[in-house]
Symmetry: C2
Subunit: 420 residues, 2 copies
């Protein structure tokens, strides 16, 4: 059953260890037209053709970067943060990291965390069982360590990276206290939502007594693309993340930590924002407003100065004496050209919480990004939060920041260097 | 691109009109062993092998039964109920049904409901766009009519089927008023959650002014199987719905309405229950308790009197003078042999609402069933609710009942006979 990684190059295939290979777009060479109201079948197939192979798996013990950062975004996410219990010791934390590491490595192979059906009648099953035989489904689980973990509770203050600080208050913040922070984060991504949910559920269960749950988001559709993936759409109907990092060299420049404390080398910093979208307000706006807000065309996703999705935006172009791309548009404010070259690696997912108290759709974007210095995010969000035309339709309601240590080598565990 | 329905016989393929054909289990002939702690790769592949073909579509205008009832359960669901606005007239309702029918037929082909990107700058897009080019993903949308629709508001009282009554209070009810009832229901099932969400969102949007949203559930994993599908697991880790109806003759006997008002012939009745599971309590029980509760083995899903999942349970078998299958087990109480032959067609989905106020996992089963007479469900649930060992771990918190009219023929719309 095992096959080697398929031949496609690029950052996103690293770590792929098994499975029947990725089934790519059914019509990858199709030159899509720009007509949109009734896409032809070929056009539908282009994007719909990303079949899913539930037997594919990734390796946990890379000894390099953790999975789930530059891994091709899977279709689903369950993200959860935790507090360490007041009664827990440094030793408890160490045991937790070792146990979580062992469990994650099993889960990522599609295996249960211990017995599903123990032979002893009075034994409690170790694994909750709902993902039994569903396959690995490309599961990745990524562990993050929040700033508060490095306070005086566990004797870890000396290990706190200078860059790991609570995020400052940002212009568009409407944060809800129950959706902020956490000592730890777990990000489970998989192509089957039940596989991702099972992973978080069983890891939370393993942690009982040492950690308590804090907040969680279940993302039902990826809203970022990796190399070779078509760009998905957010719940505003726009392609999201066209200019995301897709080049391994950029990862070294912008994502992987090199100049930091030893235990963080090869790691990165995770910023998480739960962003509510007022989608019913958005749905009432004109197409012109929508185009102006994003600085892009809705159908193809092309910048308003171009005709194809990946055309480079021309922020100097004018028409009738006015810039074609509004300087307050999302694409202009987020562009690295306009931010001193700063880039981040995005990994977004759409979410819904059903209906709000007014009966309106309660939904939005779970924005997750990775960078070697959280200041990269702060720089971008400070500009976006102040001026982005999009702000009229969104609010940042949840927030967290976490240090992502490198992955363990075989025989080791996540965060081991903290307990040296 | 169009192909005829694939050659597999059985109830679930009816209505399949296009797509590259269903990709069935990669190892359908695999004779799975009973070892569970570490399933072999072949065993994983057996269940994981249900690849997804996002280009597959069903036909809406069957002129027969509505889709989404005996259709092979897709991987995701968005279920929503609505109230008709106090200001709406019978004519408004008629227009809504006609517009919804036209829109559903487009959505099920993977097409937007009107323009995604209108050419006129000051036009508001008709389609919200987030499912643009994702493909049909086997979308089905099913419309239901609640008892309250037939009160004196719209002059429909004469059309009310005798069988369409609010459900009686049932033994395990812990209903929350905000999760009960509705004049109308829409059930969208698809293999891509964004396709299902988009359908409900755009249909709700089309209905604005005539209907308001009432309650909704997003299901993230199917928990019922049709013919040829492996039986999925609920969040208690057990295979769920092994004995579900899978035979077309049983559909005629138990599901499709024949002896009722003319406009309901070929229709059915939908019962919906949002069932919370106290999964953290369940997770602390022994395997013996779990086996006794379900009357089945957790791994294979075999009745405790058998060795294979589809072995017929033997409710008379005893060991040490006690029944092998506890008479209060779920399988015993739900069995048609013990209920005067009564059967229902189940279509369940797992759901999660994240964490509750205590930080526990808030999750469960969205139970949907179809029957020609709602009394079939009432009979079963009265027994289950009184005695089921499972009751210690679950609570019915949401409930609805809806008449499902037959599907329109081309040129007609859902519920048209009500406006003759």
């Amino acid at each position: 059953m095992r096959t080697e990684p398929t031949g496609r190059s690029g950052l996103s295939r690293r770590g792929l260890v098994s499975g029947a290979g990725v089934v790519l777009g059914a019509a990858a060479g199709f030159a899509g037209g720009r007509a949109l109201a009734s896409p032809g079948e070929a056009q539908v197939a282009e994007e719909a053709g990303e079949s899913v192979d539930f037997t594919q798996s990734y390796d946990f013990y890379t000894g390099d970067h953790q999975v789930g950062v530059d891994t091709l975004p899977q279709r689903h996410i369950v993200f959860m943060t935790f507090n360490v219990a007041a009664s827990a010791s440094k030793r408890d934390l160490q045991v937790l990291f070792a146990r979580w590491s062992a469990a994650i490595s099993q889960l990522m192979k599609g295996r249960p965390v211990g017995s599903v059906e123990p032979t002893r009648a009075n034994a409690v099953p170790q694994d909750t069982g709902e993902a039994h035989e569903l396959g690995p489904a490309s599961l990745t689980v990524t562990l993050g360590l929040g700033p508060s973990l490095f306070d005086d509770r566990f004797g870890l203050a000396a290990y706190r990276p200078k860059l790991l600080q609570d995020l400052p208050t940002l212009p568009s913040d409407q944060l809800r206290p129950e959706l902020v922070g956490g000592d730890l984060s777990l990000q489970a991504c998989a192509d089957d939502p039940q596989v991702a949910y099972h992973a978080i559920r069983d890891l939370a269960r393993l942690g009982r007594g040492t950690v308590t749950t804090r907040w969680t988001v279940l993302g039902f559709g990826r809203a970022s693309a990796g190399l070779g993936q078509s760009t998905p759409r957010n719940l505003m109907g726009f392609k999201d993340g066209t200019r995301n990092i897709k080049d391994a060299a950029d990862l070294d420049d912008f994502v992987w930590v090199s100049d930091d404390l030893d235990w963080m080398k090869g790691g990165t910093y995770q910023v998480v924002r739960k962003i509510r979208m007022d989608i019913e307000v958005w749905d009432a706006t004109t197409i012109e407003t929508q185009h102006t807000t994003f600085g892009r065309d809705k159908g193809v996703g092309a910048p308003l100065t171009g005709s194809k999705e990946f055309d480079t935006p021309d922020f100097t172009a004018t028409a009738d004496g006015k810039p074609v791309i509004d300087p307050a548009s999302h694409v202009a404010l987020a562009a690295h050209e306009n931010n001193g070259g700063v880039r981040i690696l995005r990994r977004g997912y759409n979410f819904t919480d059903g209906l709000n108290d007014l009966g309106q759709l309660d939904a939005g974007l779970l924005f997750i990004c990775y960078q070697k210095d959280p200041q990269q995010f702060v720089t971008l969000q400070t500009r976006l939060g102040s001026a982005d035309l999009l702000n009229e339709y969104i609010a940042h309601i949840g927030s967290g920041i976490f240090a992502i240590p490198p992955a363990p080598a075989q025989g080791h565990y996540l965060g081991e260097a903290l307990f040296g």
